[in-house]
């Protein structure tokens, strides 16, 4: 392919599709991947052993579409303990094929053609793909680095129209790593209640909160309980991306819709993965705690590297990545990510794929062992310093 062809191909791709084209290229180049949100850790061995035991000894034929009761019970216990969410495992939980399917189900359950979803931007691009699929429209609410990408309730309220049906709250956010504080969350949920909106809460990174921050679940608040669908998944916390296992919790009237959609879209999640999930939630927490400690250290490595590269950022309060401003280089981030990949064989994600206004940002994940992470950042730094000369 000529350089010109390559450039036209890159220009055409956006969002999720752009990420996947970069992933494919990174694979070809055997690059250091600081792009994709796939933890470098393999799934902890107690979870793998539980899957093996299940394959050998369990009756695997019995999962209803919403998931095994035992897993739904474990999820209900988990969200009660960690998120202060009170749901009945009988009619308040649906097990999904990863967080990704949960996004599609939540969006379809709350969006008909022409409906509007209020979306703080930048955000995880799959929401926009799912929204487009459902025929809904995004009403973007900007968040800015200077304010650590905090969601501004006044802007959210201004975005409400008579076509609004839902508001998306991803906390910790991907890609900005901002966390919505409890008082802001209360205000946001009150706005949702006043305007009869469903809150779509994505808490896939709720285990990764830094600097003494607190995570607040909208579904745990009195005014959010009956109007919130909460997504979570095993992928990030338990290094289980390949197992495709996640969940949605919510009030029965919304969960019933989700369950019906789940039956139409795919049927029950892999039953072996479901047994593995039970072990993840009820087994020893050691592996999770160990991973959390490592992420803390690695986050510091990326922050230090950004400081030395002159990349500014809003203070990342959660997640597994940092979103940095590279506008001083004067190059669109899609081009910059391609350059870093070509020249340094390091994959970082361009901010423009998350939101049009983020085209001078890059997202760097810390999902590599520390030595490899440092190596990747050094290589990236060399490309950047050549550019700023």
């Amino acid at each position: 392919m000529s350089q010109q062809d390559k450039n036209t191909t890159k220009k055409k791709l956006t969002g999720t599709a752009l990420f996947y084209s970069l992933i494919a290229k990174a694979k070809e180049l055997d690059a250091i991947v600081l792009g994709r949100g796939d933890p470098d850790f393999d799934t902890p061995s107690n979870i793998v052993e539980a899957a093996n035991r299940a394959m050998k000894t369990k009756d695997l034929r019995s999962s209803p579409v919403e998931g095994l009761f035992e897993l739904r019970q474990a999820i209900s216990d988990r969200v009660s303990k960690i998120n202060n969410i009170d749901v009945d495992p009988n009619d308040g939980v649906v097990v999904t094929n990863g967080g990704q399917e949960a996004i599609m189900l939540m969006v379809l359950a709350t969006t008909s053609a022409g409906d509007e979803m209020i979306v703080p931007e930048p955000n995880y691009s799959t929401y926009l793909d799912a929204l487009a699929f459902a025929g809904g429209a995004k009403v973007g609410v900007p968040t800015v680095m200077e304010n650590d990408f905090a969601v501004d309730p006044t802007l959210v309220e201004q975005a409400v129209s008579d076509r609004s049906t839902s508001v998306l709250l991803v906390s910790p956010n991907n890609p900005t790593a901002s966390v919505i504080p409890t008082d802001t969350m209360e205000t946001l949920v009150d706005i949702a209640a006043k305007n009869d909106l469903v809150v779509l809460a994505d808490e896939i990174y709720d285990q990764f909160i830094y600097d003494g921050g607190v995570h607040c679940s909208p579904q745990s608040l009195a005014s959010g309980k009956d109007r919130t669908l909460t997504l979570n998944a095993f992928s990030k916390a338990y290094a289980m991306t390949g197992w495709r296992l996640g969940w949605i919790t919510g009030p029965a009237h919304l969960i019933n819709k989700v369950k019906l959609l789940k039956a139409s879209v795919s049927g029950p999640a892999n039953v072996v993965s479901q047994y593995a999930g039970i072990e993840a939630l009820t087994g020893p927490p050691d592996a999770l705690e160990d991973m959390k400690a490592r992420y803390h250290r690695r986050r510091k490595v990326v922050l230090d590297a950004f400081d030395s590269m002159g990349i500014s950022y809003g203070m990342p309060q959660g997640g597994q990545f940092i979103f940095g401003d590279v506008s001083h280089l004067g190059v669109d981030s899609v081009e910059l990510a391609a350059k870093i990949l070509d020249e340094a064989h390091v994959l970082v994600y361009p901010g423009g794929a998350f939101a049009p206004d983020s085209k001078y940002y890059v997202r760097v994940t810390f999902l590599q062992p520390e030595a490899k992470l440092k190596e990747g950042l050094e290589r990236m730094s060399k490309v950047l310093s050549k550019m700023s000369k």
């Binding site: 999720t16 599709a17 996947y20 994709r36 796939d38 393999d42 799934t43 061995s45 793998v48 899957a51 093996n52 394959m55 050998k56 695997l60 034929r61 999962s63 209803p64 579409v65 919403e66 094929n97 990863g98 990704q100 399917e101 599609m104 379809l108 053609a113 799959t126 793909d129 799912a130 699929f133 459902a134 025929g135 290094a239 289980m240 991306t241 390949g242 197992w243 495709r244 296992l245 019933n256 369950k259 019906l260 959609l261 039956a263 139409s264 879209v265 795919s266 049927g267 029950p268 999640a269 892999n270 039953v271 072996v272 993965s273 593995a276």
Partner: protein, 275 residues
């Protein structure tokens, strides 16, 4: 056998046995060695290759690895395939005698499902039905071959209708999932996915009958232009199919044929329709 799906009942058309110990061991060993991460959206390359070879024996012809997408089971195959070739304001023709899963998947965004009357005995669409106004007015036609309700098949000469439909710019989705249960597929109409810009898609379960079912494992075999669109939708819908299922299936694929025939002859597994 009927599986409880909450408020919806999707009837399975065959009875299967538990997964064999080699496939379990192989899945376990893959997981233990770190196959616990995201894999390629359309599937693990070796599984796609094995699936291409396998579907070519059962209701599909000319499938190669790139035509294949590994899905999280038959229902996801139905969903992806029908959604990619319909639009919310469009119409899909589905035989009145068919598993309800197809209508559930196709109608989800509002596409109108037109249930087409079937021959009383076979449950297949008659020539008259195939030439009817409702079928002509549909953008997409969905068929089961063999029928999941009666086991009857569309024979080779069905390709005349298919050619007419594709000439009219229609898409056809054919659920070939029950074809391994036939004693012979010789006379059965087969889906040719070789044309680069074709419009006929086959879907079904992979390596059925031997216990991979509870892990959810399905396929879509599609011409390259459609396969590309389906992969994009699968990225958004579920990123990829679970690794425990794919690695168990990889082992199973090698010995499936012998074990399937043995189990069938011992009546350990059976199609619940007469084939």
């Amino acid at each position: 056998m009927t599986n409880s799906k909450g408020s919806i009942e999707i009837v399975e058309s065959y009875m299967y046995k538990d997964l064999d110990s080699e496939s379990i061991a192989s899945s376990y060993s893959a997981l233990k060695s770190g196959q616990t991460h995201y894999v390629d959206v359309p599937g693990v390359p070796e599984v796609r290759e094995a699936a291409a070879e396998w579907v070519n024996g059962y209701g599909v012809i000319n499938a190669e690895k790139d035509n294949i997408i590994i899905t999280s089971g038959l229902q996801e195959s139905r969903f992806l395939a029908t959604q990619v070739v319909t639009s919310p304001e469009g119409q899909i023709a589905i035989p009145a005698v068919a598993n309800p899963g197809a209508s559930l998947a196709a109608s989800l965004r509002g596409c109108h499902v037109e249930n087409v009357a079937c021959d009383e005995e076979t449950g297949l669409l008659s020539s008259d039905a195939l030439e009817s106004d409702v079928v002509s007015a549909s953008q997409t036609i969905f068929l089961e071959n063999p029928s999941r309700v009666t086991g009857a098949i569309y024979s080779n000469d069905f390709s005349t209708h298919v050619n007419r439909f594709t000439d009219q710019g229609k898409h056809i989705v054919v659920d070939t999932g029950l074809s391994p249960w036939l004693s012979s597929v010789d006379n059965m109409y087969k889906v040719d996915v070789s044309s680069a810009d074709g419009s006929i898609i086959a879907i079904g379960e992979l390596w059925p009958g031997l216990g991979i079912e509870p892990q959810g494992l399905g396929f879509i075999a599609a011409p390259l232009n459609v396969a590309e669109k389906i992969v994009k939708m699968k990225q958004v819908l579920s990123i990829c199919t679970s690794t425990p299922a794919q690695f168990a299936a990889l082992e199973l694929s090698g010995s499936w044929k012998k074990m399937f025939n043995d189990s069938k002859s011992k009546n350990e597994i059976e199609a619940l329709v007469s084939l």
